[in-house]
Amino acid sequence: MAEHIVSPHSHHHDDSHITSSKTIFGFWLYLMTDCILFATIFAAYIVLKHGTFGGPSAGEALNLRSSLNETLVLLVSSFVCGLAQVAALREDKRKTQAALILAFLLGGLFLWMLMNDLTLLVQGGNGWQRSAFLSAYFTLVGTHLMHIVAGLLWMVVLVLQILYRGLTIPTHRRLLCLRLFWHFLNIVWIFIFTIVYLWGSL
């Protein structure tokens, strides 16, 4: 533990930490505003949940079992992304990349499972045009899905950057922001799982 502690005087002349911590704080601000975006969509979903217009309700349209699998896959992906951070702080380039690739594959699996569910809904004639409930559902899950796609692209770019440039201060900073983003998406998904899937099946 002691080797991690650096006296504040040793890097007074180096601006890169100040830039880094400003970037991370800025990214944190973005995540907090994203939370508010999701909160508005959640509010809209809860209001429109009963507007099924003769179509299926949440309990009829959604598969609780497959949502549990998706939740667990995303949780493991989030955990593995944390392990990438652990490896990066130990300067272990290989393990950092391995953890990032594993997190990417698990995230991809989550995306594939979710896309399967959504495709089945649309093929069954229950697309977003069907009712207010399904519009709200697709908006909520679709917004989360777009974020997941962005996170997966980010992982690919970061793995390549670490491959070519190594674990420099900028790649460290990017990894830290990516990890925050990925954990944040998992936290949003907890609420989608609870409010949409668990409450929907009651």
Partner: protein, 126 residues
Amino acid sequence: MKTNLRSTKPHEWAELGTFKSYFFGFLLSCILTVLAYFIVANHVFTGTAIIVTTLACALVQMLVQFIYFLHLGKESAPRWNIIVFLFMLLVMVILVFGSLWIMHHLNYQMMLPEEMEMHMHTHEGI
């Protein structure tokens, strides 16, 4: 002055890297997810109790992940991250509960007379 990478990292980053903290957070999250699923799938409770318990599971899991994955509260003063986080929570609560309250009230005010009669009969005991 030659410095290695470790000493050029901001000192607060060192706190982010313990395997134990991630694993503990992961384990707790798994348990809470499966617990919430179990409660719903097996109908352990009914009515409001099931809503409250599953929401509690979600909120506790959110807290667990904010602490063990996002390391909220571990930063040094002036703690801007947590201040912004708390402000976000305030905005979120106003937004969500405000919207639901307004829409519920609107529904109530816009009911047809016969609907109102039924509503009063079933919900208000009149």
